[in-house]
């Protein structure tokens, strides 16, 4: 299969290791991977702020670059939700409406692609640690991704998966984190407390943006917890 990997802007800038791990895993499975330079952002920041015209300016660019792909794997549940769920809405009544719907049908968040589309559970990874999984809200509730990352984690050698008491938001929420920083931080504190209760060494997630929020708080206040993206765990040996 020829896989088009979509690396969102913030993963490109701050978490390149996540994209590299995904390439490694997908190629190891025998698939060809391409990564178009010009598809850089899904337009979600403007979209979520209510500026749909400005969001379309960015999104149309990405849509044009990805529309002919066989399958698109997205390195974030949040951007995945944007392209799968919200692109059809954003482009409703525009000339790109049909293309947006078609693209939505072939977009997959990374863990969803592995577990559901490819039906893979064991990637032969080894990661000896106690970890807890944080569900990014967009992945969990817009894309209904729950079991996929857990199945993959359960097959990692040496890894012990423990659940948090709740599936609560980490408080990132895109521009919300900057518009209401104190509420956002309070939410991160609640999230971290729940993760700490599990006694885990790592919080694993499929969304680097959630991890940026959680790690950002841990780095500020100190703490033993570490964050790591699912792809990095699955690529470890």
């Amino acid at each position: 299969m020829k896989i088009t990997l979509f690396i969102p802007c913030f993963v490109d800038l701050m978490f390149p290791q996540v994209g590299i791990a995904m390439v490694k895993i997908l190629e190891r499975l025998g698939h060809g991977v391409e990564c178009p330079e010009e598809a850089a952002c899904c337009g979600q920041p403007a979209f979520n702020s209510g500026y749909w015209d400005e969001a379309r300016e960015v999104a149309v660019h990405t849509l044009e670059r990805l529309r002919h792909a066989e399958v698109v794997v997205i390195a974030s549940g949040s951007c995945g939700a944007m392209m799968r769920v919200f692109f059809p809405e954003l482009f409703r009544g525009t000339p790109q409406e049909a293309a947006a719907k078609e693209l939505a049908g072939k977009c997959y968040e990374f863990s969803d692609f592995l577990a559901r589309k490819l039906g893979i559970t064991d990637l032969g990874a080894r990661f000896p640690a106690r970890v807890t999984y944080h569900d990014g809200c967009h992945g969990l509730r817009e894309l209904k991704i729950h079991d996929q990352p857990r199945v993959l984690l359960r097959h990692v050698r040496g890894l012990e998966l423990v659940e948090m008491s709740d599936k609560v938001c980490c408080g990132f929420g895109g521009t919300f984190a900057a518009k209401f920083p104190l509420i956002s931080t309070a939410m991160a504190e609640v999230k971290c407390a729940q993760a700490e209760e599990t006694g885990a060494d790592y919080i694993v997630s499929s969304d680097s943006s959630c991890l940026m929020q959680i790690q950002g708080l841990i780095d500020k206040r100190g703490g033993k917890l570490k964050t790591i993206h699912l792809a990095e765990v699955l690529a470890a040996s």
């Binding site: 690396i7 802007c9 993963v11 490109d12 800038l13 701050m14 978490f15 390149p16 290791q17 994209g19 590299i20 990564c35 330079e37 010009e38 850089a40 952002c41 337009g43 920041p45 403007a46 979520n48 702020s49 209510g50 500026y51 749909w52 400005e54 300016e57 960015v58 660019h61 809200c137 967009h138 969990l140 509730r141 008491s165 599936k167 938001c169 408080g171 990132f172 929420g173 895109g174 521009t175 919300f176 984190a177 900057a178 518009k179 209401f180 920083p181 104190l182 509420i183 931080t185 309070a186 939410m187 991160a188 609640v190 940026m212 929020q213 790690q215 950002g216 708080l217 780095d219 500020k220």
Partner: protein
């Protein structure tokens, strides 16, 4: 004067630091979640129950004019006086007129968020009437001169100790930490009031068109006393509360209880069909029903958000909302707080003044997931943002997004921005978290990861070159 947005931010800044508040609310709501889940698990097919409930509400709202006419006809057929109020002021005037006609002095009330919405207590007090809240939680917040903290649990932000102190001060009761003793203290104060009140005022949870009845759900029996003891009963309800069939209650009463408090069924569920009929032993001599619009038809006319009228005010969306759990009910400055409040308040009180509530959300969707009548709550927040930006865009924000689009759509410019960012971030520690820091909103409370030495796209270009 401070804008509602400014006030919201200031109150939020204060209360998010209040760890005692956070612990109190989280503990209470975690307990609620446990009980709710246990009760909900008794449903054989919860998703089907949600669909049925949403359908029943949609059916009533789809023909709301006919549904309300039928309700009115049936109610009037048994001697109820039905009044229509276009807005809160009209509804308050109607109540005032009735209590004046009855030469009433004292009014006893059972719980009604709709009366909070139209500020009825204030209107009655201004006109010189004594108004007593008979629901325990409402009674407590009334003594404190504050609005309810939560749609269902008005006094959940208070500890037993605080309530004991309040009662000792206001009612002269002996200090106690025992909930039963506290309830008894309130009951002693309230029993007097029931007997002397001339008018009883209630809200309603549902109204049934086919039988012409008003349905009231409560746990303390206070609404029954409010309806039964005074000679005149007034029920105030929003027009969206009406359902077509009596059998719909078989679905809605357990659902409201399950999601509201985690009970399989609320302790008292009463149907009111009119004033005391000849040969009946109790009930009010006069029964008035006030049907309130107050912005509801505006929601009805909104094809995207009409489902917001399906709300049964169970409070489940507040309970799961991580924003609500951190800022609490009073921070919103609205009658209806939490996700449903953020959705409907702009319709009631103006989008531009109340749009900040739609932005004060991480759009996590926990509310939509839990809503028993399937209101698409968090997507409505997104639509409110779109409508707000369309109506009155922020020049600065629009410029920022345009600039971002111009950069991100051009690989060479994006590459240049990356390089500049890498240079710039070397000096970031000098200003980090301070007033000059452009990322201050983030860096005051969190660390920001640096731009990587080699971005993914740079890595990919290097790899492609090597490959070739």
């Amino acid at each position: 004067m401070k804008t509602p947005a400014r006030e919201f931010k200031e109150r939020a800044a204060e209360i998010t630091r209040d760890l005692r508040h956070r612990k109190l609310i989280n503990t209470a709501l975690r307990n609620y979640e446990g009980v709710r889940d246990r009760t909900r698990s008794a449903y054989r097919d919860w998703p089907a129950a949600r669909r049925a409930a949403a359908d029943a509400k949609r059916e009533a709202l789809g023909g709301l004019d006919r549904c309300l006419e039928e309700l009115t006809r049936r109610l009037e057929g048994r001697g109820t006086k039905v009044h229509w109020a276009g807005n809160g002021r009209q509804a308050c005037d109607l109540v005032l007129q009735i209590v004046k006609d009855k030469a009433a002095r004292s009014i006893i009330k059972s719980k009604s968020m709709t009366s909070e919405e139209i500020h009825l207590n204030e209107a009655l007090a201004r006109a010189g009437f004594e108004v007593i809240e008979s629901d325990l939680g409402e009674f407590i917040v009334q003594l404190r001169h504050e609005p309810p903290y939560h749609i269902v649990f008005p006094a959940m932000h208070l500890t037993r100790g605080e309530i004991s102190d309040l009662f000792a001060r206001e009612l002269g009761s002996a200090p106690t930490r025992n909930p039963e003793d506290l309830t008894m203290a309130a009951r002693r104060a309230l029993r007097e009031k029931y007997l002397t009140a001339d008018v009883g005022l209630t809200g309603a949870n549902f109204a049934i068109a086919e039988t012409g009845m008003v349905s009231i759900t409560e746990n303390e029996g206070n609404a029954r006393l409010t309806g039964a003891l005074p000679k005149t009963m007034i029920t105030l309800l929003g027009i969206e509360k009406v359902l077509w069939r009596l059998e719909d209650l078989a679905l809605f009463l357990p659902m409201l209880a399950t999601m509201g408090t985690g009970q399989p069924l609320t302790s008292y569920n009463t149907l009111y069909g009119g004033p005391r009929q000849p040969g009946e032993s109790d009930g009010p001599a006069e029964f008035h029903v006030i049907l309130l619009d107050n912005g509801r038809t505006r929601i009805l006319a909104d094809p995207e958000q009409r489902d917001a009228l399906q709300c049964i005010r169970c409070g489940a969306c507040l309970n799961v909302c991580p924003i609500y759990r951190n800022v609490g009910g009073h921070t919103y400055g609205t009658t209806y707080s939490g996700p449903i409040g953020s959705v409907i308040t702009p319709h009631f009180r103006g989008l531009q003044d109340w749009k900040h509530l739609s932005y004060a959300s991480s759009l996590c969707g926990a509310c939509t997931e839990v809503c028993p009548v399937m209101i698409d709550l968090h997507h409505h927040l997104l639509q409110n943002r779109r409508n707000a930006a369309r109506g009155k865009p922020s020049k600065l924000e629009r410029l920022a997004f345009k600039l971002f689009a111009a950069i991100i759509n051009r690989p060479w410019l994006y590459q240049l921005a990356k390089r500049m960012g890498r240079t710039g971030q070397r000096f970031h520690p000098l200003i980090k978290g301070g007033r000059l820091d452009p990322a201050r909103a983030w860096t005051r409370t969190r660390e920001l990861p640096p731009i990587a030495r080699e971005s993914f796209k740079e890595y990919w270009r290097r790899r492609e070159r090597r490959g070739r």
